[in-house]
Amino acid sequence: MSKNAPACAPLRLHVPEPTGRPGQHTDFSYLHLSPAGEVRRPPVDAQPAAIGDLAFALVRVLDADGNAVGPWAPQITPERLRFGLRAMLQTRIFDARMLIAQRQKKISFYMQCLGEEAISVAHALALDEGDMCFPTYRQQGLLMARAVPLVDLICQLLSNQRDPLKGRQLPVLYSVRQAGFFTISGNLATQVVQAVGWAMASAIKGDTKIASAWIGDGSTAEADFHTALVFAHVYRAPVIINVVNNQWAISTFQAIAGGEGTTFAARGIGSGIASLRVDGNDFLAVYAASRWAAERARGNLGPTLIEWVTYRAGGHSTSDDPTKYRPADDWKNFPLGDPLARLKQHLISIGAWSEAEHQSVQKELEAEVSAALKEAESYGSLADGHVHSAASMFEDVYEDMPAHLRRQRQELGV
């Protein structure tokens, strides 16, 4: 050390830590919540630079009593809300049943979206037919809201002879083009740039469709996320970029992805993108913010980044045990609650739902999921070897099979 250096303490590396570890009680004050109804709703043609405050606030509609309050309270019929509740319930029941199927070794791997159902379901309701979603592995609510046949999904999970993806993808990495659901990669963040490209293509062709991209808080650290923001802004692409901040990327707290002392919505501001931070467990807020962003996109007003604040209630996947790195009862203490319970409370409070109806719909959906599982199982599974043929492995690598792949297929003897 130079003798001229001033006396000072040695440098220290800062490594962020969550405010709660196993056996502790998480201090969720780091979330900086706004009271329901308090955050302003700017017009859809607002300049991104003029609404920077919204990236640090939290748009909320449902108050603690289940009332829809404030300027973001959306125009939506009770019928649509009932449909939304049903789709959320279906998502949760489906997840729970598939989790059991994985434990029973019927499927090799599963990822649930417990606690995050409102984000994908309400967002799907805010989009139009033909819009394309570029999801991660935790947006199965999009598929439920778009009424994709459960048997098809379960066949993918079972990797059986009716798996639409021919056994090539891990369970949950669906592709359902006709439902506007892009093939899930498994590599992270790549889909966000692709969504921007899809949206650019729609604009190039003078189409009216928009794209919606999904990414978790953890993978916003990937360069592709930042690249996507640049391209989306440069070409004013008709795209919505959804950052699902569920606080955890496997065992990594969102502060390690760069969320400490700032927000993920704030990432959009420096890029010149309109950015909102929204209560992701508030069905009405999700719907309202999604509509606002979709209107912007469809009106040639440019992209919107939305950070959905939520909590990953379950493990990352069936290979993960979250009690090893966070308090086991964390979700119960999460201040934004359970999205399903909150919408249910609202619907009951406006007289559009009842406990009895809830029980009967739940039973009906459970039976539906069980029947779908039973039917899908009748088509076989990876476990019992009823999968697509080994010969099919060589198909779709190229549009037409080149000579070297034909030789390799012959070598395998199929």
């Binding site: 993806l165 993808q169 083009r177 990669s185 740039v193 921007v196 729609s202 779709d396 070297h404």
Partner: protein, 339 residues
Amino acid sequence: MKTTPMTMIQALRSAMDVMLERDANVVVFGEDVGYFGGVFRCTEGLQKKYGTSRVFDTPISESGIVGVAVGMGAYGLRPVAEIQFADYVYPATDQIVSEAARLRYRSAGEFIAPLTLRMPCGGGIYGGQTHSQSPEAYFTHVCGLRTVMPSNPYDAKGLLIASIENNDPVIFLEPKRIYNGPFDGHHDKPVVPWSTHPQGEVPEGYYTVPLESAAVYRPGSELTVLTYGTMVFVAEAAARESGIDAEIIDLRSLWPLDLDTIVNSVKKTGRCAVVHEATRSSGFGAELTALVQEHCFYHLEAPIERVAGWDTPYPHAQEWAYFPGPARVAEGFKRAMEK
């Protein structure tokens, strides 16, 4: 069809012009390709002719360029993106290797990535280690990709049109040293323009050169030479100067490739040399050597010879010591003729 003398740059531009005209889903973009027309001028005038929504500049982000191309392809467009130098393509690796190459496979055909990624490659222009590389082996290793490298204006246009029309992702490598004329490795001799070469005579309209099809550039009886790009002309000079009657095969499509033309030639000559500018170890020549060994072993009179760039970064001041010029290639030919 009426033909015109064209440089490789003009031929590539003509291919994009033809395809922009024929197919409303073709779009062209990349760094500096819009108003300016590209640092090598390949897209000059195209933005003016087809408008900014079909020919445009992009941010300096190769992962972004390829990523948006994948999304556009999924929508139904046919993107033709330029990577300014092949040396710059690495940030896009994830989008090429994990995404474009496997989109059809992983979605069982629901989504495809019919994109063409043009990129100038190779040395001989004092470009140093970031403007001279030949990265073909990184791509030929990836299932689902097509890798193409033309060696002359006629093939450049026909192969580019075939690549744009193809529904698989194509890595289209353009040897920049031969953009303006064939180069036989004698860097101290005057530059030869394409107008003096028969392959510089190019049809003005639409035509294709099929993919997965090699060309016998120079028929011969004593030695089969497997090569592509600039090295086609270096190999020709080496054959002339060594007096060896080499059959020079210009692979054109590196992968998937035309194995029949290779095998038929080696079975005829009984000897084989593989020549490329890229570094030697684990280079594409290793695959070619293995294929010849697997398919022609009992016809071989001698070990297969490899001549390639040294396993060093591409140097700036030592360019001609690095570049496998005609003398080094001829030495390889002679070794292949021994025994």
